[in-house]
Amino acid sequence: VKTFAKPHWTTIPLLAAMATTGARVAHASDNTADAPDPSASASPTGENTPSRWMTRLQIGIRWMLPSDERALLAQDGYDFSSTYALTGDFAWYVTPVLGAGAWVDHSIRKSTPQFGGPTLTQSFYAGGVEAPLRLTRSRACELLLIPKLGYGWSFLDFGGDDHPLHAIGYGGDVSVLFPRAHISLTASWLNGPTGRPTGAGRDYNFGGIAVLLGGMIDG
């Protein structure tokens, strides 16, 4: 007799989305060692079949890459060694190992000098394409290497009119996915050298190294 765990109320929106998109719901009965299901491997959505798509939403910290502009701002009393980061992506697996998808990235940080002065806001928006590569996979855990390429816009302002610094951004993620728990843990690197802005500014880089944690669903 196949039994089902009662879903917690917080997972109802996620489960509803998965039901409408055909995503698989992981259950305790997925453990094939306890309840082998010969038809599972034959089914395209069976538990031994790798997922055909996945989508994630993650938050974390990004440590900014060094740049002359960052050093100049630090001399002027504004510390930007780290920022909050919010990322999302979607990928479709063309083969069980290789996928193609899109990503978006946002980070923001406000800094106020210790001895007074206006608050400086640094925000960053980027998006592009990615090609996730499954290094290992099982229903319990997947290890992904995800090269990324895109374009980013970074805003540095004291509250006035601002012109973004923009450049091509590239980098990659190393992600560990736990599909049953719908958890994604990622180490991310992004490089975005913008060059020198007009005026007295210096070369800037909106990229950084990030540690991210979030939720994921696949199907």
């Binding site: 765990a5 305790a28 002359d68 000098p113 009119d161 007295a200």
Partner: protein, 213 residues
């Protein structure tokens, strides 16, 4: 319906949900702590004045530029900087000090500047207004103090003389800077007051403390 739910399986799922919430909470706390500016103690013998005093000066008409000097965008596109050179040029900057001066501290001006070549800087004696040569005769005893500035490449804070005592606390500070050589070029990204505890004082006053009083 209750028969369809297995107690054996519901309990572990709740444990997983709790663990996920704990992990997310821990990560959130970690992110918050890492991204919050440190509240480390400052060195009370030396206090940097507020940042972006140059923006306040230039917005209120306190930045006068001539010839090759120009107001340009600064460390951000919505801030000011002053670029002088190459070629003959000069700038005079006057800015209000407000609460920048702390009790018991001597003080002097500093420029956050980058460039090369040689520049002539004039500052008034402590407590005196700066009178440029084209603005008439200086009052007796208020001849501007001259010094030569030789910026060397990258941005750094450059101190200007004189160092004024805590007794001279004017409401505004001023200086003028002009090229001394034709190939000289300088970007001034900001100005500030640097306060240092003078001898004979025993004060723990800080700019922030003074504002709160």
């Amino acid at each position: 319906m209750a028969d369809f739910y297995s107690i054996r399986e519901v309990a572990p799922r709740r444990h997983v949900a709790r663990r996920v919430l704990l992990v997310v909470g821990a990560i959130g706390l970690f992110v918050h702590l890492c991204c919050t500016p440190s509240l480390g103690s400052s060195n009370d013998t030396s206090i940097d004045g507020p940042s972006r005093m140059l923006d306040d000066a230039c917005r209120t008409g306190g930045c006068v530029v001539e010839k090759s000097a120009a107001l340009v965008s600064g460390v951000t596109s919505d801030s000011y900087a002053i670029r002088i050179g190459p070629g003959e040029g000069s700038a005079q900057v006057t800015f209000t000090l407000g609460d920048a001066l702390a009790d018991g501290f001597s003080w002097h001006l500093e420029l956050l500047a980058s460039g090369n070549g040689s520049f002539k800087v004039e500052t008034p004696p402590c407590g005196q207004p700066l009178v440029l040569p084209n603005q008439g005769e200086s009052a007796p005893g208020s001849q501007p103090l001259q010094q030569t500035l030789n910026p060397t490449g990258g941005y750094e804070w450059i101190s200007l003389s004189p160092v004024c005592g805590s007794g001279s606390s004017p409401s505004a500070a001023t200086f003028s800077i002009a090229t001394a050589t034709d190939d000289a070029l300088i970007d001034i990204a900001d100005v500030r007051i640097k306060a240092e505890m003078g001898s004979g004082y025993c004060s723990i006053a800080r700019v922030g403390d003074r504002r709160r009083r």
